[in-house]
């Protein structure tokens, strides 16, 4: 799995848009980018996955530039309940669904009222 780098922590206020960027300079051709969310004392939860350009679902958007060396998770109008740790994972789609996931330290997002 490609090594990823993301900020250790971020602070935001309710109603703001939050963008968390992940660097993955060594991403390989077959690698996809996947983001997970983890609330305290709970298991990680899949948020979004993409390969290039932009992916959007009901929870978040994922922006991936043409060189794919970074990606940005965008959370629109965060609320207090979005306070969590967000993990960026990069791996071969043929593997990531089946093989071990390697979690880094993630980005701890704290949303204030």
């Amino acid at each position: 799995l490609a090594k990823t780098t993301q900020p250790i922590s971020m602070d935001s206020y309710e109603g703001q848009e939050v963008n968390i960027t992940c660097s993955h300079n060594n991403i390989a051709t077959n690698d996809y980018i996947t983001w997970y969310q983890q609330f305290p004392s709970q298991g990680p939860r899949f948020i979004i996955q993409g390969y290039k350009t932009k992916v959007t679902n009901e929870v978040a958007s994922l922006f991936i530039p043409a060189d794919r060396k970074s990606s940005t998770l965008s959370l629109p109008r965060v609320s207090l309940s979005d306070t969590a740790v967000y993990y960026c994972l990069v791996g071969d789609i043929r593997d990531t669904g089946r093989r071990a996931l390697t979690f880094g330290s993630g980005t701890r997002l704290q949303v204030q009222p």
Binding site: F46, Q49, F103
Partner: protein, 114 residues
């Protein structure tokens, strides 16, 4: 929405005792995993299981650990002789057959070894 369930939610045990952590993966899933997370640390992979055998394991998963799928629904992790350092949250996960499937995690079992 289908979900992975785990029991018990909390377990306290004495050092040296055996514990069995139980998981019910999502019903049509084929790949099963155990991860653990020591308090304040990263989520770490332990083992993956497919077709009734271990397909991958980490260095953490030593002879003290074993996994089993005793029937068509349960997936268990056994720690034979617990150590203080086994205290952690243990997460079960499962995924389906497709290439773009993601892993779905259970709520975890908090294990405390005294």
């Amino acid at each position: 929405e289908p979900e992975v369930t785990q029991t018990p939610s909390h377990q306290v045990t004495q050092m040296g005792q055996e514990v069995i952590l139980r998981c019910v993966p999502i019903s049509n899933h084929l790949y099963f995993y155990w991860y653990r997370q020591i308090l304040g640390q990263k989520v770490e992979f332990l083992v993956s299981f497919y077709n009734n055998e271990i397909s991958e394991k980490s260095e953490i998963f030593d002879d003290q650990f074993s996994v089993e799928r005793p029937d068509g629904s349960n997936f268990t992790l056994k720690i034979r002789s617990t150590k203080l350092e086994d205290s952690a949250m243990y997460f079960c996960a499962s995924t389906g057959r497709g290439y773009q499937e993601t892993q779905y995690f259970g709520p975890g079992t908090r294990l405390l070894v005294l």
